[in-house]
């Protein structure tokens, strides 16, 4: 092939390839624009005030709304006993969210000039920002302690190797009274099976608070996961049990809902929802038979809520915590719920 022919071939190829690339990108732009318009048959969403402190008798669920329309990805609220009803959207966008006793933690993307970054934003009861902290990765879990003082979050950090698949997590704990930030649980002393333990591959995720000083979380090392109990003041975690991920402590503090890696399930869907009685260490498989990859939230002392992939991001479901009953769909197009206000069966 002559040099001219080669150059012409290259030019023609550049034109065709650029056309494909631009066409595909425009298609994606159009699709993104469609998501900003309400969908026929989707939930009704309107702007309004969303609060993290409910009036007595008015129990609400606040969550990230993923329904198509102008309020997509905003925190929205619905009555807890009528979650399928019209949504009130707050104008505050979050990827992950949790709240308790008037304190909210919102993990949010911040669009920069050359790179997106993420931050953890502490919200007051009217969703106003109190402080924010830069994050080093992609948000995945967030929790607030029962009295609203402590907050914790987990992000995914990826290695930078070629075609990198080397993921790790980083979990931080914040005291919103003193604004003391412990930016990585990996600095904690690990007591594993009664002995001091160190590992370069130690990863923590999924904190759930018992009180302002104590929490449960998952520690992964050497390909195994462990339920750990952590002490914020002593900066120590102790392993309690294997194969417990994303623990969620019940309102009474006696049980943990978690996702368990069940042998024999497909590698891309390995988890089932379980509860663990902390007194007897007895596990109970819940009635949800699908793969659950979420940190569950207790609706009340008897029921847990969790998200499953759906057509519009994710759908929220609930299932009894005693292993009986059936999964029930709470709402479509939403995730990361927090229940605001005392529930009728809440027990502390």
């Amino acid at each position: 092939m002559s040099r001219t022919a080669r150059v012409l071939t290259l030019v023609a190829a550049v034109v065709v390839l650029a056309g494909i690339a631009v066409g595909y990108t425009l298609h994606a732009v159009d699709r993104a624009a469609r998501r900003d318009r309400p969908r026929a048959g989707g939930p009704r969403v309107s702007s309004g005030a969303v609060q993290l402190a409910a009036a007595p008798g008015d129990r609400r669920m606040v969550f990230r709304n993923t329904a198509w329309g102008p309020h997509r990805d905003e925190l929205a609220s619905v009555p807890a006993d009528h979650p399928g009803g019209p949504r009130t959207a707050s104008g505050v966008t979050c990827l992950r969210f949790h709240a308790a006793a008037g304190t909210g933690i919102c993990l949010r993307a911040v669009h920069g000039a050359l790179q997106d970054s993420y931050r953890a934003v502490v919200l007051d009861s009217r969703l106003r920002e109190r402080r924010h902290y830069a994050l080093s990765g992609i948000p995945t879990r967030a929790r607030v302690s029962p009295d609203g003082r402590m907050a914790a979050w987990t992000v995914f950090v990826s290695g930078d190797s070629y075609a990198g698949t080397d993921f790790s997590t980083r979990t931080s704990v914040l005291d919103t009274r003193t604004w003391t930030l412990q930016d990585s649980l990996e600095k904690y002393r690990i007591i594993k099976d009664g002995h001091a333990y160190r590992a370069v591959d130690a990863n923590f995720w999924g904190v759930t608070f018992a009180d302002d000083d104590h929490f449960y979380a998952t520690l992964a090392t050497r390909g195994r996961t462990h339920l750990v109990r952590g002490d914020v003041r002593a900066r120590t975690v102790r392993t309690l049990r294997e194969n417990v991920e994303c623990p969620s402590l019940s309102p009474g503090g006696t049980r943990i809902a978690f996702k368990k890696r069940v042998p024999g399930l497909p590698a891309d869907a390995p988890w089932r929802l379980y509860t663990l009685d902390l007194g007897t260490l007895r596990e109970t498989a819940l009635a949800e038979r699908r793969n659950v990859d979420d940190q569950a939230v207790w609706v009340d002392g008897n029921t847990v809520a969790y998200s499953l992939p759906g057509d519009y991001g994710a759908n929220l479901w609930s299932v009894p915590a005693d292993g009986g009953g059936r999964p029930r769909r709470l709402l479509d197009a939403g995730l990361a719920p927090a229940f605001i206000g005392a529930g009728p069966t809440r027990s502390r």
Binding site: Y24, A32, A134, L135, V157, D160, T165, D166, F167, A199
Partner: protein, 472 residues
């Protein structure tokens, strides 16, 4: 591209000027130093790295927010993929040397780049972790296949005396692509919210373009610049150029039958390159010493992620800096690859290769004994780390090329590269164990002691060779 053509047709065109006499003008010197084939291969690597790093940059986000997956534990297979990738590299190098009349480096490189390019659109269809893992494994296989033939082509199309610079130019272009890719991916995601598929589609088009540039503008047969470059008396005494043995060997491709100095059986039977001939390379003392040194030093070279993690912890950096640390290393590599490659051509590649490891040792030392936390030591460690890559990555291949006859170039470079990669992998495993037992600082301190010992041993081993200058 034009240079590639003209050089290809006139293999003897590289003027064998004494180093001291060269450099009447920097522009002219560069033009003479970097053949078109190298620029074409650099362009291919730049384009391919843009494509690859676009995917790498958005993959975590895609898995977590696009697919809603928890990718933890996924990294466990990384080591396996790396091991397989290193072995595939051997295969790629050897296959490239086989084939009639001077090897089929380009054909094997096209297969390698092509396989990786096909993996980009495959990501559009793969929606589960196992499938995505399989696609990434295929991508790495492609990378493993193409690395040795590409480096062989670079070395074969460059006069021996400027090989360090040529590899430096290639590595700089490669790294530039790696830095550009994430920016382009970000721009696509900026205009198309959640448009991960658009990123993969654009990446596919870019990858296809890279393969096309390779097919169209890299000559099927290396111009063999190294056969004509350094005749007797070509290099100035000051320049410590690799002539002697290597030029004789490569000259042996042309004059092999009548060259009485062509000692190895390989050089006497130019027709068939067998696996046996490739393995016989290990008996060649000069190459063997280089491989031993690359392995020794690789055994004490900590992985990037390990170094960056320690950097963040030891210097107590805010976690938000963490994603920027690899960029610091890459930027410094990009800036120094060409100058250090050129320096290696002048003072000797083995010396620069060793000096690069001393730079790495200095980075370890700073991390272990750092007096203060903060910006200054961070910048210093990243600069040393980038300089380490600039002084060793391409330079090692340039040095190894001087110890391998052209007809076995792919196999020889693959042996060196694979040895180094497997040694580094072993280092990661060992460091993980030491970290578990005694903590991160001890792990780094033992790596530092090991590196000092291995560097001393390498200096002793390589002192005989001096870039072939004193080769018998």
């Amino acid at each position: 591209m034009y240079l590639a053509d003209s050089r290809g047709r006139t293999p003897g065109a590289a003027e064998p000027q004494p180093t001291a006499a060269r450099g009447t003008g920097p522009g002219r010197r560069h033009a003479a130093a970097v053949p078109g084939t190298v620029l074409a291969l650099g362009t291919v690597s730049l384009i391919t790295d843009v494509s690859a790093e676009m995917v790498t940059a958005v993959l975590p986000l895609y898995l977590v927010t696009g697919l809603g997956l928890s990718p933890l534990g996924f990294g466990l297979l990384d080591g396996v993929y790396n091991g397989v990738g290193a072995l595939v590299r051997l295969l790629g190098g050897h296959l490239a040397d086989r084939g009639a009349d001077g090897g089929r480096h380009k054909a094997v490189a096209v297969v390698g780049y092509g396989l990786s390019a096909l993996c980009k659109p495959a990501l559009l269809a793969a929606h589960t972790l196992p499938l995505i893992g399989a696609v990434l494994a295929a991508d790495r296989t492609g990378k493993g296949l193409r690395t040795a033939p590409r480096d062989a082509l670079i070395s074969l199309s460059t006069p021996a005396r400027t090989r360090g610079r040529a590899f430096g130019v290639h590595r700089a272009m490669d790294t530039a692509g790696a830095l550009l890719g994430p920016i382009i991916a970000f721009l696509v995601l900026r205009i198309a919210v959640d448009g991960y598929d658009a990123v993969f589609a654009v990446s596919s088009c870019v990858a296809a373009l890279g393969v096309l540039v390779l097919v169209l503008f890299v000559p099927a047969r290396a111009p063999r610049a190294d056969t004509g470059a350094g005749g007797p008396g070509a290099a100035a005494p000051l320049a410590h150029q690799p002539r002697g043995r290597e030029e004789r060997e490569s000259g042996g491709r042309v004059t092999g039958a009548r060259n009485p100095e062509a000692r190895r059986p390989a050089a006497r039977e130019p027709a068939a390159v067998t696996g046996r001939a490739a393995l016989d390379l290990l008996r060649q003392p000069e190459l063997r010493r280089l491989i031993v040194c690359a392995v020794l030093l690789g055994l004490t070279t900590v992985s990037d992620s390990f170094l960056h993690l320690l950097l963040q912890r030891r210097l107590d950096l805010p976690v938000r800096w963490f994603p920027l640390l690899p960029l610091g290393t890459a930027a410094c590599f990009l800036l120094l690859a060409v100058p250090l490659g050129a320096v290696a051509d002048r003072v000797g590649r083995r010396q620069v290769f060793l000096a690069g490891h001393l730079g790495l040792l200095a980075a370890y030392g700073l991390l272990i004994f750092t007096p203060t936390a903060g910006t200054a030591p961070t910048v210093a460690v990243l600069a040393l780390h980038g300089a380490f890559y600039a002084a060793t990555d391409g330079v090692l291949m340039a040095a190894a090329a001087g110890a391998v006859p052209p007809r076995l170039r792919g196999s020889g470079l693959a042996l060196v590269g694979t040895g180094q990669a497997l040694a580094r992998f072993a280092c990661s495993l060992a460091l993980g164990a030491v970290w578990t037992a005694w903590g991160g600082r001890t792990a780094l301190a033992s790596a530092a002691v090991g590196l000092a010992v291995c560097a001393a041993a390498s200096a002793f081993l390589l002192s005989d060779d001096g870039d072939g200058r004193t080769a018998r």
